[in-house]
Symmetry: C2
Subunit: 374 residues, 2 copies
Amino acid sequence: MPTGHTAERVAVDAVSNDGRESAGLYLDRIRRDVDTALARFMDEQLSESVDESLPPLAEVVSRFVTGGKRLRPMFCVCGWAAAGGDVATPAAFRVGAALELFHAFALIHDDVMDASYYRRGKPTVHRMLAMRNDVPNDGTSADRFGENAAILAGDVCLVWSDMLLHDSGVSPQRLSDSRRLINTMRTEIVAGQYLDIDTSENDNEAELSRAWRVVRYKTAAYTVTRPLQIGAALAGGDESLLRACDAYGCPLGEAFQLRDDLLGVFGRPSVTGKSALDDLRDGKRTVLVALARQRATPAQNEVLRSLHGDPELDEAGADRVREIFQETGARSAVEEMIVTRRELALDALEQAPVTEQARRALRELADSAAHREF
Amino acid sequence: MPTGHTAERVAVDAVSNDGRESAGLYLDRIRRDVDTALARFMDEQLSESVDESLPPLAEVVSRFVTGGKRLRPMFCVCGWAAAGGDVATPAAFRVGAALELFHAFALIHDDVMDASYYRRGKPTVHRMLAMRNDVPNDGTSADRFGENAAILAGDVCLVWSDMLLHDSGVSPQRLSDSRRLINTMRTEIVAGQYLDIDTSENDNEAELSRAWRVVRYKTAAYTVTRPLQIGAALAGGDESLLRACDAYGCPLGEAFQLRDDLLGVFGRPSVTGKSALDDLRDGKRTVLVALARQRATPAQNEVLRSLHGDPELDEAGADRVREIFQETGARSAVEEMIVTRRELALDALEQAPVTEQARRALRELADSAAHREF
């Protein structure tokens, strides 16, 4: 075994073999190395805090970030590798971990806004904070404390994300060159969230166009394109590579979100880790829903209007809504869209000026968007 | 008039004269040039937004940031000048404006957490957003929309603050060197806010120590020391200057917060722009309150327990609480603390390795902490 063969080196060695299996290993290794970087950073925040008040927040955040699929870090490290960046250095994984902390910021605030109870099969951060022992146990004020503390937990995740990014080991010049892209991602997610909470009424046409915009900002750009581009830019990728990231990332990111929307309604809770009622009760305005509305008969639209977004919706009502998604052909249309988009992404990937190890990993990530059940 | 004599140049010319009046002019000019930089940046966000959903948030934020005393930008530009930085370049004011946007982030979230109605004599951001025309006008959901949108408005202010900082014109290396300090400030404000919302009970001793910690993070560091140090570091100031910023900033920042606490209880609303009942109704746990509790007779403590933090407190009740602050000597103790701290700050300033123009401006800022009525 050569010297310098550290834990971080292993990820790159795994792909020096050929074929799907070693590429699969590759993604697993990215995930593991990102987890390690993230855990190490959170331990530092727990032990070197500016004030003794922060550890309670750091603890909750630490527990929260142990979950998650690590999609954004994986795309980010792939972008880094695509630009020929050395994935044997810890910097790639630290940058990936920084994106995961950014994601924690977005999710924590999102859950406060949606008043969600569960995330990743566990209580949401605001609920964990509300249940803290030393909070007066009189319902409302504990809930309020939980929400307020979660706003702060989200805020500090955004700050920590920036700290980790800055301390990643990437040169100041590279970080500076990539900061516009990073801030664009940060702005886009806020725009997507705002679109999501804005409840002003639209006609069916506008509703579909808005649903697509949410997909674009909240997922396509945020989950795939931007992490890829940020990884690529931090490793010195040029404009043509950044465009290729978009050509692959945009359709693939859409495919991911469309899959997510289907899973939110038709997925098995034991697999997805969340109730298949939540999206329907929240009245989440997805492309699936907008398509169903457009295609529905007046009678079906009447049912959708009364059941979709009903916070008390039961399983029978949910089944009625699911039937309409089927009967209108909205579900199969979305399934087709996923297939088409995955193919578009794969075609773009074949043309892309990326390293072969990155191409292999990105191919596998594209497959998971079409087939995933989680 | 020499060429290159732009609007930004004027600020430095004003201090080439002597005496208080020109120094006063100097602070006014900093304020004006920061306002200009901030307004220009916000106009860009309104016109070059990543999505049409952002302008509503940008509009509300634009209106919100037109208010404020600009204390942090003023300290920041003074820090810049203290390090010998050229205050004739726009970079100093852009950095100051970036701190003001950071402050907007902190205030907007703070107001959501406190469910405050007014800020700077106007409705708070979450209330402005709740009152937007196209929101369904049924009370609860409008309020909820306002809070959620304000969480996002705060988030985007933090992102914009970073964008403006990055595009300020300061070199990547300087920005990189200063980023640890910037992220420390960002973390400290979260720690201070968390201390502020944590309602767990303490004995009187612990209560006083906690009140001081809130003062330290929420104001002393955040309003004075960190902005000064950030300005100094961005202009290339060394470690000894950063320590001097702390020696001056720490007592002065405490004086500012103590003054603020007094104004929150004894100030005239027409001058402070906020009700003199809010702090008392919120049960704000200030040094003033902690001192009064420590010194109060059992009977007085009984009154404080029942009235301080009562959301329905009326003027008669508030007067009763104010009397206890007087009778216990807590008010005059706080007044004395302000005087002592201002003197400590001024002594430190005389020793500090700063430029003369910075010393003059910082002297004037110290005076305003002791005398201000706003």
